[in-house]
Symmetry: C2
Subunit: 209 residues, 2 copies
């Protein structure tokens, strides 16, 4: 399959959430493109086109079989090929992510939590013991970690990313509010929570004027 | 000013983070469109066009004055017109958000934290005491809350959103993985953390094949 575009991937995730949530235990559950389209505020034609692109076909008078939609999206996005992730930065956000159990269904398994502050070493957060950053390269190699979740201050992000890349990490989920320079072949997803805040703030400003 | 498009607003946020981070204490700090463009991986012409759209002009042989860029973005997005927010759902994510102090610079001030579970009422999280959901309408009115941050399970999100809208809230920051139906004039920003996960998972799948 050729590379999926970011916008298509984002739409597939919306369909996925919708279908997973309404799917009941019965194997025979079905869903129509019109139902998906209505909830995600998109056109039913686009929904059908997107699903066709990942090999899902509808049935006459029935629509799509929910479990086929769910599995096709899981296959297309690689949710059933688990990858190991380490969190670097055991502040509030890092700890919240470390305590969260909702990543496994997306093929991401958190196996370690690091912090540079010596006084945090050995503290327990959820199922994880905070490890010193000095052990990063060893743990990445031993545990076969391919993803780093970066929850350090912006000022430390590049240096920590460099260490993770040197250790062999191939993808970075960056929560620090800064860009990162990485070699070709390393993927960075910038999570920009503050864009959401800015949108809310901007909307209320428009509303008031 | 006419409505800013989502993509422009997102770009302005990237510029904002970049300029704020590299701005030193001196009033005279400057930045060029080429410097901004390089870090955010965009074209310098687009950076200049975006800044011109919100009224920032460059100076010959100097570039842009950093404090002018920062203030123009703050004005355009309404960061200096504070709005009060309440979190509904005091689970791990709601508590992490309640403990976070980074929203004030974006004009959003968290004033209350609610949960439907009676056994959570009265517990302290950061600066907040968990309030019963039954007091939502009263607190929204008394504290002039305009934003609700929704961190409840997907199955409860619509009902809780309806209550927030009925109480007079005008913007919802939705962390639940479900769409919401709201009346015209109420703005919803869907925060989709799992899209980031899906992108990472998909990239690693491509990488391996």
């Amino acid at each position: 399959m050729k590379q999926l575009k970011h916008v298509l991937l984002e739409r597939l995730m919306h369909y996925y959430h919708f279908v997973v949530e309404r799917q009941d235990a019965a194997d025979g559950a079905t869903v129509t493109s019109t139902q998906i389209a209505k909830l995600v505020h998109m056109d039913a034609t686009l929904v059908r086109k997107d699903l066709a692109a990942i090999g899902v076909r509808g049935y006459p008078h029935v629509g799509f079989r929910s479990h086929e939609v769910v599995q096709a999206i899981r296959d297309a996005l690689g949710f059933d090929e688990p990858h190991r992730a380490a969190i670097i930065g055991a502040g509030r956000l890092g700890q919240a992510i470390a305590s969260y159990h909702g990543f496994t269904p997306y093929g991401v398994d958190i196996v370690a939590l690091f912090d540079i502050a010596p006084q945090k070493t050995g503290l327990i957060v959820g199922r994880h013991e905070i490890l010193p950053l000095a052990s990063l390269a060893r743990v990445v190699a031993e545990q076969n970690v391919s993803i780093v979740i970066l929850t350090v201050p912006a000022s430390a992000a590049q240096e920590v990313a460099d260490r993770a890349v040197a250790a062999g990490v191939r993808a970075i989920w960056n929560f620090a509010t800064t860009g990162l320079v990485v070699p070709d072949g390393v993927f960075v997803h910038h999570e920009r929570i503050s864009v959401g805040l800015a949108e809310l703030s901007y909307h209320l400003k428009q509303d008031a004027s």
